[in-house]
Subunit: 226 residues, 2 copies
């Protein structure tokens, strides 16, 4: 593409190029170390144009966080259909999560490491996305608990509503554990050669579902006598 | 105590007062927002004395990280004896972890949130402590796997050595998941009224042990057919 054609690109295309370059540099080097000069150079645009479109380094970083958070959330939600059994929803969701974080390691680094390390406004944006994930997983676990009650009781027909076997705040605890485990494993999988998204998702299902699965069938773990 | 007696306190005591005040303020407000003036005031010493003893705000923060990391590590290790069965080690370790983080919420905030949010030297110190925890939990899971093989085979006497049933890199994956889940749950428990350390530890055992326990007995979770 010649310089003349490049100049005619619409704003949306240019912005995506800037965000692509920014996510790469922020993810690899960190927010402080990445310079607007480098970002402009890698995006193939002038620095004034970056400021014109995205205003400041802070706003550019916020735009990166929003874009990467939206992409990750959509990647997971697109694979999880509410008509699937809860176990399948969890498996498909985890597989989509680890596949996306493996394919977009810089985007994941921006969300998981860089955004948290740059103080309030950025950390708050990531915390809001995380809270949405937690709420989503909590509902999934409550749905699984209802399935579990259904199996165990066997006294109601298909499609009938059940009260959850698990109080909501306990389900929220499991969701916190699951999301924390997934975050930790995604960073580990990206840093460990030979660990695939499929393996990471299987590890977490083995860790989490077999445990939750037991619980749903009334086989709770209990502490040893003191 | 009068002012004259206070002046005679040995350096070690004064340093602990400074660190106590610093951990509180860093944990509550964050590294940037906490001022050396406030830290000195809360410690009941002059600001020059804080600089004399601890050199700079950076060094004071590093000292806080090291002290809180050591305290947490010792709290966990003191409750975990290698002669306990692996399940018991995990339970006692988790209970000690959640008890300590509940009793020292500012110390936990310094390690989990503040230290990670202030860039390289601090984040690296926390990463090193985390890596030690991961290694400790990995060995624990490998020990559990050996117990599992022992139970399943039943062909060797007590005290005989077994090869682990689980490859080390898989155990490392479970350890990453477990530590990530514990970190996430500790922050949640501290932010959620009414969640006790005992409950948080039980939630994680239900989540993790029942799952790992299944696995150790050869009941791995397997993905649904595509």
């Amino acid at each position: 593409m010649g310089a003349v054609r490049t100049k005619r690109k619409p704003r949306a295309v240019r912005e995506q190029q800037m965000l692509d370059a920014a996510v790469q540099l922020f993810g690899q080097r960190g927010y402080m170390a990445a310079s607007m000069d480098e970002i402009a150079e890698r995006a193939g645009v002038s620095k004034p144009l970056v400021y014109l479109y995205l205003n400041s380094k802070e706003d550019l970083f916020s735009a990166c966080i929003r874009r990467e958070a939206t992409a990750l959330t959509e990647a997971v939600r697109s694979q999880v259909r509410p008509d699937m059994p809860a176990e399948r929803q969890l498996w498909e969701g985890l597989r989509a999560f680890f596949t996306h974080t493996a394919q977009h390691p810089e985007g994941w680094a921006v969300l998981h490491r860089q955004a948290r390390t740059q103080g309030e406004p950025f950390a708050d944006e990531v915390a809001a996305v995380r809270a949405e994930f937690i709420a989503f997983v909590t509902q999934l676990i409550l749905a699984a608990a209802r399935d579990g009650v259904f199996c165990a009781r066997g006294d109601t027909g298909p499609g009938e509503r059940h009260e959850p076997a698990l109080p909501e705040h306990e389900a929220a605890g499991f969701a916190e554990a699951l999301v924390g485990a997934a975050e930790s494993l995604a960073a580990w999988a990206n840093a460990t050669p030979g660990v695939t998204a499929h393996q990471a998702a299987t590890t977490l299902m083995n860790f989490a579902w077999a445990g939750l699965g037991n619980l749903m069938e009334g086989r709770a773990w209990s502490p040893p006598a003191a």
